[in-house]
Each structure stands twice: as C-alpha cells, then as structure tokens.
C-alpha cells in the first residue's frame, strides 16, 4: 500500500469512528431527554438520595433489587452507577496490562535470542498457513488483476447491494433478539424496540432504510448490466441468478413488511396475497401457502417470519455465492 492510500484509509476509519461516537452521543442525549421528560425535570439530589438510601438489614439488604433497565448513560446521569463501570475498568486496565506484559515479553525475547522481532501478525499468518496451507490459493485469488475499465463507479452498484445485505443481516439479527412473532406481542415488541432497547430505534431505522436502498441498488445494478450488455454469453447464468436475487430481495421486502403487525402491514399483506391469489390455476394454492389459511392471521405472521429470517436469507446467500463465483471466473465484461 502506498503512503497516501494508507493516510486515506486512516482518515476513513477516523470518519467512521467519529460517526459512531456521534451515534452513542445521540443515544445518551435522547435517553437523558426521555428520562428528564418522564421525571418532569431531572433531579440530581433525588438521584443521589436514591443511590445512597439502602435498607439497613433484612433480605433486601443482601439481594439488590432487580435493575429495571440497564443503561449506557447511567454513569453520566448519576443513577445505576455499578453497571458499566466494572466493564470499562476491566477493559481499560486490562488493555494497559496486556500492552505492558507484551512489551516485557518482546524486550526479553529480543534480548535473549539476539534476533529481530517478528510481528505477531506474521507469526499468526505463518502458524495458520502451516496448518491449512491456504496462502497459495489465497494469493492466487487476491492477485487476480482487475482490468482498468472496471473502475467506474457504476461497477460498484452490485457490491453496494451485497454490502447492504450484510448490513441487513446484522441489524436483522439485532432486531430478532427482541422481536416476538405472535399477533399478541409483535406490535408491543416493536414498541419495546423503539422505546426501551438501547439503539433500538436506530437499528430499526437502519434496517428500514437499508431495505429500501437494497432494492434500489439491486434494480440499478440490473439496469447497468442490461444496458452494457453484460448478460450476453457466456454470462447467461449470472443474469438468471441475478434476477432470482432480485426476486428474493423483493420477497424480503414483502415478508418483512408484515412483521410490525400494524394496520399498514396487515392490509398491505392482505392486498399482496390477494394478487398472488389471482394467478390462474395455482392462485388459491399460493394464497393458502402464503396466508396459512384463507385469511391473514397469526399463522401468516409466523410463516412470514420464518421465511424472512431463515428461508430467504439462506437462499439469498446460496445464490450470492454462485453469482460472485461466476463474476470472479468470467471477470467484468469489456464495455463497447
């Protein structure tokens, strides 16, 4: 890597870091605001009192009351001091301790062996390579040249779609920790995610907008391929797997739309499954398969949830692997 590109990478990482700090700061701010709104006004002396006032004896003195809601900003707002402090303490002092121990070991080993120090990354890479013998095929993959005509921004669209899929996977897992796919609890669990879970509203917003962006990017990528004629032989199978991936992306959107279980979700799904029911011959079968019955009900919610978090992701990953492997094998089509 050249010097300037290293500098740019560091700048990129710093930008990402600053954005993350901003996210955390906003979360703390929003939480402090909501706490203040709940209590009318945040009362420092009262919080101090609540902390110091402990029952003198009895079972309540030995078993602390369960914490209602762990919170990140507590060491700042004053309540609940003991939750994050130990972790932060362990991390800070532990890191310093590890760095110190490593320094001692490194100095001692250089001094006793009279040899220059080999970086840990090199050691780890050698260790893994001795066992898996992966460096030769890996370097073959990594050294494959990329033609210069493939450096325009519009060749990024497919990659952006793939990365948005990763974003969707990560935020989707986070949402699945708290979401409950039952008619009684789905709506309330979304409210819980938005109001109680830390960063819940942020994660839901990212999942919501990245889903829309993924569809837009998918269609943009497809139009780019179509216009440039990249579907022509020998890339037919790539085009077909791409269209299947677009259908899977739309199926993601369709199944995910029902999960909040609000009016919009319910009636959009009713209308959507009605359209599936209008297919001649197999319409009723499709309708009953999607709705698990003749009406949209809790069973539909369960079916859509299963499709959304297991079936469609697995199919998408499989087709994406096929898609990428073919792109690697055949390369980027030379434009006219």
């Amino acid at each position: 890597m050249t010097d300037s590109s290293r500098k740019k990478s560091i700048v990129g990482l710093i930008v990402m870091f600053v954005a993350g700090i901003l996210l955390i700061a906003t979360a703390i701010h929003v939480q402090a605001m909501s706490t203040a709104a709940q209590a009318g006004k945040f009362n420092w002396p009262l919080a101090e009192e609540a902390l110091t006032a402990q029952p003198a004896s009895g079972p309540a003195a030995t078993i602390p009351p369960p914490k209602q809601e762990p919170c990140l900003s507590c060491h700042i707002t004053g309540e609940n001091k003991n939750l994050w402090t130990p972790l932060v303490r362990w991390l800070v002092f532990g890191t310093f301790g590890l760095i110190f121990a490593f320094g001692v070991y490194r100095s001692a080993s250089v001094w006793t062996q009279r040899k220059p120090w080999k970086p840990l990354t090199v050691r780890a890479a050698t260790w893994v390579d001795e066992r898996y013998q992966i460096s030769e095929p890996l370097s073959k993959i990594l050294k494959k040249p990329v033609p210069k005509y493939a450096l325009h921004w519009w060749y990024c669209l497919g990659g952006i779609t793939a990365f948005l899929f990763v974003v969707q996977g990560l935020t989707g897992i986070m949402l699945a920790f708290y979401y409950k796919p039952t008619a009684a609890e789905a709506y309330a669990s979304i409210q819980f995610i938005e109001n109680e879970v830390r960063f819940g509203a942020a994660i839901r917003m990212i999942h919501h907008w990245a889903a829309n962006a993924m569809i837009v990017m998918c269609i943009a990528h497809m139009l780019r391929v179509f216009i440039m004629g990249a579907f022509k032989p020998p890339r037919e199978l790539n085009w077909i797997s791409g269209v299947l991936l677009l259908i899977l992306t739309l199926a993601f959107g369709f199944t995910g739309y029902l999960l909040p279980w609000d009016q919009r979700a319910f009636w959009a799904t009713t209308v959507g499954t009605q359209i599936a029911g209008a297919i001649p011959a197999i319409g009723n079968l499709a309708l009953v398969f999607l709705r698990v019955g003749w009406n949209v009900s809790e069973a539909t919610l369960g079916r859509f949830y299963g499709l959304h978090i297991i079936v469609i992701p697995l199919a998408t990953v499989a087709f994406m692997l096929v898609h990428f492997m073919m792109v690697r094998r055949l390369g980027v089509k030379k434009p006219l």
């Binding site: 942020a202 990245a210 004629g229």
Partner: protein
C-alpha cells in the same frame, strides 16, 4: 469465447491491495451513511400505525412502493377482456414478463454493437418512465 482477463500489466490493477482499497472506501461510506440514518432514527423513529385490526379496513390500502406499479396495473385493467378475467390476465402478463426478463440472454445472443446498446438505453429509459409514472399514479390515487 474470448479470454475474460487482460494479461498485460498496464491494462489492469492488482485486486489486492489496490482494488480492495477502493471497495474499503465504499464500505466506509455506507457505514457512515448507515450511522447517520441511525442517528436520525434515534431522533425521530420509524414509528408504527395503529395495531392490526382485521375488522377495520383503512380507506387507502396500498402495498409497498416497489409493488405499487404492479398494483396500479391490476387496478386499471378492465375487469373483463374478451371473456377472460382482467386480474388474472394482468398477473399472468406480469409473470410472463418476468420470465422473459429472466431468459433474456437466450433471446439476445448476438455480438454486441453500439447501436444495440443505445436501443437498450432507450428501452430502459422508457420502461423506467412507465414504472415511475405508474408508481406515482398509484401513490396519489
């Protein structure tokens, strides 16, 4: 079939680290955008409508925006065309269109020319205008 990869040094850059670096910047950009979206989400969440109520149909039932053009086609198609049910015809024509799109490489196999590319550009723009117009129509109606 031609060899897909140019072998000369001056026509290509190494995948690693040069091209990986470019993609790294794209990833950083998307992550920063996602975090900004997250911050906006904290300030004003996506929100929810009223809980689902099977007995209470809202006035304007609409699917998601990417199915809106399809829904609009089905809405404006006459209920009866030459004795065939209109909705069924609309759905079938959409499915047939999808299959044609999927199998398009097998219909269009000729060596590519500039002229063919411009025709494809025109077809794409026309199709986009049609779909966007139908989507807007579906949104406002």
């Amino acid at each position: 079939m031609t060899t897909p990869h140019p072998e000369t040094e001056k026509d290509s850059i190494p995948f690693y680290p040069d091209h990986v670096k470019t993609e790294f910047f794209v990833v950083v950009g998307i992550v920063v955008l996602a975090i900004i979206v997250g911050i906006l989400g904290l300030l004003s969440p996506v929100g929810l409508q009223a809980p689902a109520d099977p007995l209470n149909t809202p006035l304007h039932v609409k699917p998601e925006w990417y199915f809106l053009f399809l829904y609009q086609i089905l809405k404006i198609i006459p209920p009866n065309i030459l004795g065939i049910e209109g909705t069924a015809l609309g759905v079938v024509s959409v499915i047939v269109a999808l299959i044609i799109v999927m199998l398009w490489p097998f219909f269009d196999k000729k060596e590519d020319t500039k002229k063919a590319m411009w025709i494809r550009v025109a077809v794409t723009i026309l199709g986009l205008i049609l779909v966007i117009a139908l989507t807007i129509w579906g949104e406002v109606s």
